[in-house]
Structures are given as C-alpha cells and as structure tokens.
C-alpha cells in the first residue's frame, strides 16, 4: 500500500483567515459598545454604514478583477477594515466622507496592491488618513460625551445628521461638539497653561477624560481576549504602549507642567485600540519577534513625537502608516537564525553548504 505524502506545510493552523477576522470582530464589540454608550448612536450608525460600503466595494473590485467574489468576502477582512475605519472617524461623520474613506481603503490601499496579503499599508488607516487630510473640518467634529452633554441625539436624529450632513432642528454643531482631551491638552499647552490647569476640568478622570478611559479599558479587554486566543502576539501591543509611555514618562519627569503624564498619553485617543487592533494587522506589520518589538516601539515613539511636536492632536494612523513602510526592512534585518546554522551562513563545520 502506498501512503500519500502531502507537501508541506504539515502542521495546519487552527484558524482560517475568516475565523481570525471573526475573532477580531468579536473582540471589537465591547469597546465599540463603550464608545456608543459615551458618544451616542452615531458610532453604531458609522460602523453599519462603513461595513456595508466596505463589503460592497470589496465585492465590486473583486468582480472587476475577475476573482471569486464569495470566497474573498468570506475572509471577513473587508468587515474589519470598515469597522476600524468607523471607530477612527467622529461619530457624526457625514456619509459621503465615510464613502470616500472606505473607497480609498478598499480600492486603492488594498486591491490596487493585489488584495489581502499584498497590501503594504493598513487599509483602514489609509482610508482614515485620506479623509483626515482632505476634510479637516468634518474630522474635527467630536460630540461631547453624553454623560456631560445637556442633550443627546436619538437614533433618528443621528441618522439624519449622518445622511444629510446637517444637524436636525435647532441643534448647533458648536453646542454638541467639544474638544477631545488630546485637543484640549494641545491647545491648552499652546496657549501657555500648565498640565495641572488643563486637567482640573471636571471632564478629566484619573488619567484622561473618564469617557476615553472607559473606552480604552473595553478595547483593552478585547485585546486581552485576542492575546488569550493567540490571534495576536504580545510583542506589538506591549511595544506600542511602552513606546508611548517611556518617552512620555521621561519628558513628564523633566517638566510635569508642560508635558502630559504617560498615563494620559496611553489612555487618550486611539493608543489602546491602535496597539491591539490596528498595529497588529498581520499583513502590514512586521513578522519576526524582534521585528515586531521594533515595529511596535517605533509606532509608540512616533505617536508621542507627533502628538507633542507635530501638527495633529492624535497620531496613531500616521505612526502606523510610517512604520508599515519600514516593516519589510525590519523583517529583512531581524530574520531569526535557521536551526542548525550560524547566524550568517552555512551550518558550523561545513564549509560548502
């Protein structure tokens, strides 16, 4: 009897791509619900719209490339891209902004480069940066967290605001939007106030604003779940958070009046979701263990540098895209030693490999 010998790989991974993406989506749920709790229906409306657009664009471009449509949609990666994009933009983003951002994410950043697995840049972040750079006015409209706002928009009013781009009834943008903690810190420092004067506002909890702290906590929960299920490895998230916290802590110790605390940096904006969900994108991140640590640390340091001295209040998307460019070089320079060989070249004692 002949035994059939399969070619390698002989160890089949327990996760399919679609399965991995499903786990990521599940892990995103608690943080998304926390965001919806604080920022209202807009978050959920954005997620639904962005996911719908992402799947539609993915289907259209895959069909145009004459590839199997259903098989490609089955990997769920378009859903993750749409979802992450929706979490990055403000909750009342007009629908046409979402449409343009998702179109860039799926068509330009993903499929012009060859589709899932070939894209050098994180598609969701490309889409977000495109709209952030192109529509600065729309991207600055963060509503005040509901716990502090006098009134909140219902589902119908939110839909109307998102679809028409104008607020219903007597609501004014100025009345319902407010600076995010990062904006407040940035403008406060620029106008010569000290950190303690800025954080004395009732909006601030122990580290950052209460709402952003809780959102960060729930994304952290989802991230820990991914770590526990071994969907992601610890290297990148830990390196990102330390990459933000260590330089932030250094400058904070030098001058706590003009530099925010490391805890403020880690729990404001998108650091937690970025560390666990965005920087860990298996396609565009570094893949070797040492490479992952350098990649994550680079993202963290860039976030701190751009936030502190750059032109934008938050910088997770820019930092991720910049490090995406470096990832192939990092992989090349940090290739692990092959078993039975010295670090460079043939096995020991064998001159002619």
């Amino acid at each position: 009897m002949r035994f059939r010998t399969e070619s390698s790989p002989h160890m089949i991974p327990s996760h399919s791509v679609g399965g991995v993406m499903q786990q990521v989506l599940m892990a995103l749920v608690p943080g998304t619900l926390a965001m919806a709790w604080f920022f209202g229906w807009g978050v959920l409306v954005n997620v639904v719209l962005a996911v719908l657009f992402a799947v539609a664009f993915e289907a259209a471009i895959v069909a145009a490339r004459k590839r199997p449509v259903m098989a490609t949609l089955g990997d769920n990666s378009a859903i993750v891209t749409g979802w992450l994009f929706a979490l990055a933009v403000p909750p009342l983003t007009p629908v046409w902004v979402t449409l343009i951002g998702i179109a860039f994410a799926i068509i330009v950043a993903k499929h012009l480069y060859g589709g899932l697995g070939y894209n050098p840049f994180n598609p969701a972040m490309v889409g977000y940066v495109v709209v952030l750079v192109s529509f600065p006015r729309e991207m600055a409209l963060w509503p005040a967290p509901d716990t502090l706002a006098d009134m909140s928009l219902g589902l119908g009013q939110t839909l109307q605001a998102v679809l028409t781009g104008s607020l219903p009834g007597t609501h004014e943008w100025d009345a319902i939007t407010r600076a995010t903690p990062l904006d407040a810190m940035r403008e406060g420092l620029a106008s010569g106030r000290t950190v303690s004067e800025i954080t004395v506002s009732p909006l601030f909890g122990s580290f950052s604003e209460t709402s952003w702290e809780w959102i960060g906590n729930f994304f952290l929960l989802g991230g820990l779940y991914l770590l526990f299920r071994r969907i992601i490895h610890w290297h990148i998230p830990v390196a990102v958070i330390l990459g933000v916290a260590i330089p932030a802590g250094f400058f904070w110790m030098l001058d706590p009046d003009s530099f925010a605390s490391p805890a403020f940096h880690v729990f404001s904006g998108a650091v937690i979701i970025g560390a666990f969900f965005i920087a860990t994108d298996p396609v565009s991140a570094s893949t070797t263990p040492l490479g992952r640590i350098l990649y994550g640390a680079g993202i963290g340091v860039l976030i701190f540098v751009i936030r502190t001295w750059g032109g934008y209040p938050d910088a997770v998307a820019f930092a991720v895209l910049l490090m995406n460019m470096v990832a192939p070089t990092l992989d090349h320079l940090t290739r692990p030693r092959i078993f039975g060989r010295s670090r460079r070249g043939p096995p020991p004692g064998d001159g002619h490999a």
């Binding site: 004459k66 590839r67 343009i100 330009v108 495109v130 750079v133 192109s134 529509f135 600065p136 006015r137």
Partner: protein, 233 residues
C-alpha cells in the same frame, strides 16, 4: 530607422509621451499641476523651450564636437529658458509669481536635454522642430489633464485665476462645479499628484491594451492566461 513625420507626431503626443511613457520632467509635472492655469502656463513655457532648443541644437549639430556637446546643449537651453523667464515676468507677472522656481527649473527638465541629445542632434532642422513641438504638446497635454483633474477634485473649479494667463476677460472663464468647502484637499497635496499621475498612466496603458486586444483574439487569451497565473503559483 528614420522616423516618418507621422511617427514623430504620434510618438510625441502618445506612444513616447514625455509625461506618461518616458516619465521625464516629473518634478514640474507633479508640483505645478495643482490648477489648470498653472499647468497651461508651464506647459507653454516648456513647449517653447523644447521647440527652440531642438531647432538650435539641430542647427549646430555638425559643428559641436562630441566631447563638449552636452555643456553646449545646456548653455543653449539655459539661455532660452532665461529669455522665456524674462518674457513671462514681463507679460504674465501674476502667473510668473505663482510658477516661481519652476520656470528656471525648466533647464533641468530632462525631457528637454533628452530630446536634444536623442533626436535634435541627429535630425534636420524641420524634423527637430516638429519633434520639439510634439513632445512639448504631449507634455502640456499631460500637465493640463493632471491640472484639470486635481483642480476639479481639490477645489471644485476649472480654470480658476484664468485672468493671470488671458488678461481681464479670463475672469469669466472660471467654472465653479461645486462649492469649494467640500473640496478633496488630498488632490491638491503632493500625494494626490502622484496618485492622479498613476491613474493617468494606468488609463493610458488600459487604452493601449484595448487597441492591441482588438485585432487578434488570440492575443487576448494569452493576456488572461498570464493574468491568472499568479493565482496558481
């Protein structure tokens, strides 16, 4: 070997277009194509330079010694560009201020010295003149297409500031297609220039492939076969 006159025209405008195929002179092409008027202005200046430099280089082609031909060409091109710069400063001062450093930089546009070396130095004066004109028009065409695309996407207008180029009656030439506060700013920024340029090149290649595919159906099959092969690998 010796291209016919139609070949010269077709090469300059399409098959060997300096912007889309040779990818020469990308620096002014990408930097100045933010609006259509800038594109037209720089396109005219570049076309004039190409035409004059090709004529002069062709005139001296039997007298310039090969060892020093490149410095001689550079001197000729630099004098022409200086003359054009002074002329624009005199007659199109507003546009001159906007185009700024990119007018003197026409000297370094490799499309110009490329045509002088590759074509004008080996061809008679009329043919060199035709080549310079067609290459210049090809370059101008790409500049205008890119400028129109970026201007419409970026600020929703066409031919804004046309008075800088056409005088007072240019004020009426500006088309406002949609309110400018919804403009797609990325199109006006440098990355937008690169992306739009990439899309134009892709469009040109796609048009070419459509024309190539039509006459022979067999060629079409091989094209799809090679397209599918990365999947099997």
């Amino acid at each position: 070997m010796n291209p016919t006159l139609t070949d010269i025209i077709r090469d300059g405008l399409w098959h060997n277009n300096p912007g889309l195929v040779q990818l020469l002179g990308l620096c002014p092409l990408l930097a100045i194509s933010g609006t259509m008027v800038n594109a037209i202005g720089l396109g005219i200046a570049t076309t004039l330079t190409l035409l004059l430099s090709n004529v002069l280089v062709s005139l001296i082609r039997d007298h310039a010694r090969p060892e020093i031909r490149i410095p001689v060409y550079v001197l000729i091109i630099a004098s022409i560009v200086t003359a054009i710069e002074l002329a624009m400063n005199a007659w199109f001062h507003g546009l001159y201020l906007i185009l700024g450093i990119f007018i003197p930089l026409i000297v370094t546009n490799c499309a110009i010295i490329g045509r002088a070396e590759a074509f004008a130095s080996r061809n008679s004066v009329p043919r060199a003149a035709l080549d310079g004109l067609m290459m210049g028009l090809g370059f101008t065409g790409v500049l205008i297409a890119l400028g129109a695309l970026r201007e419409v996407l970026g600020q929703g207008t066409l031919m804004a500031n046309a008075h800088l180029l056409f005088g007072d009656w240019g004020h009426g030439m500006t088309l406002q297609l949609y309110p400018s506060e919804h403009g797609f700013l990325l199109a006006l920024l440098p990355p937008g220039a690169f992306m739009a340029m990439g899309l134009l090149i892709a469009a040109k290649n796609w048009i070419d492939s459509q024309f190539e595919a039509e006459p022979s159906p067999t060629g079409d099959e091989t094209a799809t076969a090679t397209e599918a092969s990365p999947d099997n690998a």
